[in-house]
C-alpha cells in the first residue's frame, strides 16, 4: 500500500538511459515485441525511420511491397498464419490513405496489426503541407485504437500500448502516426517496457459462473444441440479446448468461413460450412435444432440470412469475448462472456458425455442429398468445361489438407472454402467480413512469411487478381514461395451469378477481359502455365506444387457456373436452394 517510500528510493537511482532518435526507439520497441518481418513502403515523411532500419537489416526483415494496400493484406496474412501481430510501415498522405482498405478488413475480421505511418512535421499539421492528410481521423472508424505522436519520448510507451491493444481481447488493427520531427528527435531512451494493462480497457469480460452453469444445463437437456464456431476459437488459441468440448458433448458442429480449420475438415463431428454458400445440412438444421451454441462467431448476415426466421425455435447460448457481440444480431438466452480458452473448459467440465447419433445422422442425410445434387457434379464432372470444384478436389488430393489456402473474394472463394480440406488450424486465410477483392495475392505473401514451412496456395479469380497483381513484383524481389492458382472464368463470377439468378441475366459490366497471366508472370520471372483441358489439370497442379519457388497456374474454368447451395438474400437459412 505504502508505495511512497519505494518511489523515493527508485528516484534516487536514475535509470540508465541512452540517447537515441525516435526512429531507433521505434525499431528497438518492435524487436522487443518479437517483430521479425515488416511490410512497408517508404516515402518522405517516414524517411527517418527508413534511415534507421538501414542499420537493423540483420534483425528486422523489411519486405518492400508494391502498394501500401498490399502491405496491409500481407500484414494480415502474416498475422493470420503466425498468430503474431502484423507490422506495416507507410508514409504520410497517399501512403497512409492506401492503408484504409486493409485496416477496414483487419478491423472487421479481428486481425491484430500495428501500422506505423509517417506524418509531416508537427508544426505543419493542419497547414495542408505536402503529403499531409488527417490519417488519425480517416482511420478512426477502421482501427481498434490509433494515436498520433508528436514527441519522441512518447514512442516506447505508445508502441507498447499499440501491441497490447492489437493482440489482446478481440484483436484488431492499431495505427500510430508519427510526425517527422518525432522520428528525428534525440531523447533519453530508458528501454522498452511492454504494456500489460490499460485502466480503461478490459480485453476480457469476467467469466460469470452462473452463465456457465446455465449453458451446461441447457446443453445437457438438449435433444438436438448444434454448435456454430467461428474465428474466436482460433484467435483464442482454443482449438484443443474446443475439440475436447465437441468430443465430450458429441454435438454436430458447423463453421463460419473464418472458423474453418479450428477442427479438421474430416472430424466426425464437423458437419460443414454455414451461411449463404455453406452446406445444406448446417443451414437447414439451424432451424431444427433445440439449442444453438455459438462459439466465437458474430452472426454475420451472410451466416444468418433472414434474422426473423433464424433459429427461432432454439435456445441460444453465445460464447464471445466481445460483450458488444452478445444480442447484437441474435438474442442470446445464455450469454457466456469471456475468452473461449477459459470458458470452454469450464463448460466441458459440466456437460455430460453424450452421442447424438440420430441427430447426427440427420445431418448426414442432408449431406447425401447435397452430394447427389451439387457436390458430385462440381467435384467430379466427366464432360464439359472444368469446374472450380474439381480444381479444389484435385488440389486436396495433392496437398492432403496440409497446405495454407489463401483466397481472394468471389465464387472461387466460396468454392475454396467449401471444398478445401484443412487438417490444421490457421490454414484458411480469406477476407470474410469486408469481402475485399485483391486481398488474395498480398495476403499469400504475408501468409508465407508467417508460416514459412507450409505450402501456401493463393486461389484467386481473374477479377480479383487484377486488383493487386503488382505484388508479383514483391514475390519476385523477395523470392516468396507462393503458388498462385488463378481460376479464370472470364467473368466477375459472383456478381454475374446474382445477375443471372435475380436480374434476368442482365449481365451488367461483369464481362472482364484479362491479360495473358502466364506471360505476365514470366515478365516477373515467375514460372507458370495455363491449363485448358481436364486431362492436364492434375499434372499441372502437381508441377506447381513441386516447383521450387513461386509459380502461377491459370486454370480456365466454366464461364457460367454457379455456386450452390445458396441462401438468397432476404431468405431464411432453411430456404436454401440447391440449384
Amino acid at each position: 500500500m505504502d508505495t511512497a517510500q519505494e518511489d523515493a528510493t527508485t528516484l534516487t537511482e536514475p535509470k540508465k538511459t541512452v540517447t537515441v532518435s525516435g526512429s531507433v526507439a521505434l525499431l528497438e520497441g518492435l524487436i522487443a515485441e518479437g517483430t521479425d518481418t515488416i511490410f512497408g513502403y517508404p516515402g518522405g515523411a517516414i524517411m527517418p525511420i527508413y534511415d534507421a532500419i538501414y542499420d537493423y537489416k540483420d534483425k528486422l526483415k523489411h519486405i518492400l511491397v508494391r502498394h501500401e494496400q498490399g502491405g496491409t493484406h500481407a500484414g494480415q496474412g502474416y498475422a493470420r498464419t503466425s498468430g503474431k501481430v502484423g507490422v506495416v510501415f507507410a508514409t504520410s498522405g497517399p501512403g497512409a490513405t492506401n492503408l484504409v482498405t486493409g485496416l477496414a478488413d483487419a478491423q472487421i475480421d479481428s486481425t491484430p496489426m500495428v501500422c506505423i505511418t509517417g506524418q509531416v512535421f508537427a508544426h505543419l499539421l493542419g497547414t495542408d503541407a505536402f503529403q499531409e492528410t488527417d490519417v488519425i481521423n480517416i482511420t478512426t472508424p477502421v482501427t481498434k485504437w490509433n494515436y498520433q505522436i508528436t514527441d519522441a519520448t512518447e514512442i516506447p510507451s505508445v508502441l507498447a500500448k499499440a501491441f497490447y491493444i492489437a493482440r489482446s481481447g478481440r484483436p484488431g488493427p492499431v495505427l500510430i502516426d508519427i510526425t517527422k520531427n518525432a522520428q528525428l528527435q534525440m531523447f533519453e531512451y530508458e528501454g522498452y517496457t511492454p504494456c500489460e494493462h490499460i485502466r480503461s480497457y478490459r480485453p476480457k469480460p469476467l467469466v460469470r459462473k452462473e452463465y456457465i452453469e446455465q449453458a451446461a444445463a441447457l446443453i445437457n437437456s438438449a435433444k438436438k444441440p448444434f454448435v456454430l464456431f467461428g474465428q474466436g476459437v482460433l484467435l483464442g488459441s482454443a482449438e484443443q479446448e474446443f475439440k475436447a468440448f465437441v468430443e465430450k458433448s458429441g454435438i454436430p458442429s458447423a463453421w463460419t468461413i473464418l472458423g474453418a480449420g479450428a477442427i479438421p475438415t474430416d472430424h466426425p463431428l464437423n458437419v460443414g460450412m454455414l451461411g449463404m454458400h455453406g452446406n445444406y445440412g448446417p443451414n437447414v438444421q439451424t432451424n431444427a435444432c433445440d439449442v444453438l451454441i455459438a462459439i466465437g462467431m458474430r452472426f454475420d448476415d451472410r451466416v444468418t440470412g433472414r434474422l426473423d426466421k433464424y433459429a427461432k425455435q432454439a435456445k441460444v447460448v453465445h460464447l464471445d469475448i466481445d460483450p458488444a457481440e452478445i444480442d447484437k444480431n441474435v438474442k442470446a438466452d445464455v450469454p457466456v462472456w469471456g475468452d473461449c480458452k477459459e470458458t470452454l473448459p469450464l463448460l466441458t467440465a459440466l456437460i455430460e458425455e453424450k452421442q447424438h447419433t440420430e441427430w447426427l445422422a440427420e445431418f448426414r442425410a442432408f449431406d447425401k442429398i447435397e452430394q447427389e445434387t451439387v457436390i458430385q457434379k462440381e467435384l467430379n464432372p466427366e464432360t464439359g468445361e472444368m469446374t472450380m470444384g474439381e480444381v479444389l478436389n484435385q488440389l486436396n488430393e495433392l496437398t492432403k489438407g496440409d497446405a495454407v489456402i489463401v483466397t481472394d473474394v468471389g465464387q472461387h472463394q466460396m468454392v475454396a472454402c467449401r471444398y478445401a480440406k484443412f487438417n490444421n488450424t490457421r490454414s484458411n486465410i480469406t477476407s470474410g467480413g469486408l469481402g475485399t477483392m485483391g486481398f488474395g495475392l498480398p495476403a499469400a505473401i504475408g501468409a508465407k512469411f508467417g508460416a514459412p514451412d507450409k505450402t501456401v496456395v493463393a486461389i484467386i479469380g481473374d477479377g480479383g487478381f487484377q486488383m493487386t497483381l503488382q505484388e508479383l513484383g514483391t514475390i519476385m524481389q523477395f523470392g516468396v514461395d507462393v503458388k498462385i492458382l488463378i481460376l479464370n472464368n472470364r467473368f466477375l463470377g459472383m456478381v454475374r451469378q446474382w445477375q443471372e439468378l435475380f436480374n434476368e441475366k442482365r449481365y451488367s459490366f461483369v464481362d472482364i477481359t484479362s491479360p495473358d497471366f502466364v506471360k505476365l508472370a514470366d515478365s516477373y520471372y515467375i514460372a507458370g502455365k495455363r491449363v485448358e483441358e481436364r486431362a492436364d489439370l492434375a499434372g499441372a497442379l502437381e508441377e506447381m506444387l513441386n516447383h521450387k519457388g513461386s509459380y502461377l497456374l491459370e486454370v480456365m474454368v466454366a464461364k457460367e457456373n454457379n455456386v450452390f447451395p445458396m441462401v438468397p438474400q432476404g431468405m431464411s437459412v432453411s430456404e436454401i436452394r440447391l440449384k
Partner: protein, 205 residues
Amino acid sequence: MSNSNETELNGKQEFTITVYTENRIGILNRIAIIFSRRKINIESLNTSPSEIEHIHRFNILIHETEEVVRKLARQIEKQVEVLKVYYNTNEDIIWQEMALYKVPTDTIAERAPVERLLREFGARAVVIRKDYTVFETTGHREETDKLIEVLQPYGLIEFVRSARVAIIKDSDGFNRKLREFERREPGEDVIENEFLDKEKNVFSM
C-alpha cells in the same frame, strides 16, 4: 419533451447516455462516429472534466429505442479509452440545461415586468449594462424555451443554451470505483502538439 404519442408509435424516446472516458484527444470523434455511422442524430452533447482528475464525463442525448441505445452503449464501452457507459430514460435522471438571454436594458427596464419574470422563471441577471442586460436561467427545455417566448417582444438580442447535463438518480456505485481507479493508477496528462507556430524548435533534416 413530451413524445409520449410518438413513443407509443415507434418505441423511440429520449435517452441520456453518460460516458466516462480518459481525457484523450480524439475520443470525442471515436464516440461521435458511433452515432453518425448509424445515421443517428445527437440532440445534445456535453463533455467536461468529471469530479475525478483525468476522467471526463460525456452526456449525450438521443431519441431512439432502448434496443438501439443498448447496442450503442456497448459499442461506446468497447472503445479502449472509455471506462464506463450508462443509458437512462428521463425518469432515471435529474437534468438541467442552462440558458443565457441578452436583451436591451432600456426596453426591459421600461416595459417588462422584470421582477415578476425573474421570480417566475427562477432567472437572475448576470450582467446589467447601459445598453444590454444578460439573464440566466436553468431548467428543462420547455422552461428555457418559455422565457425566449416571453423575452422576444422586448427585443431579445441573443440567446444561447447549453447541452443537457444530467445526474443519474441511482448512481453511487461507479463513482467510488472511479476514485479507486484514479488513486491506484492515476491517469496520464494529455500530450498536445507543442510545435504549432514554433518552427524554430522543430528538428529538421
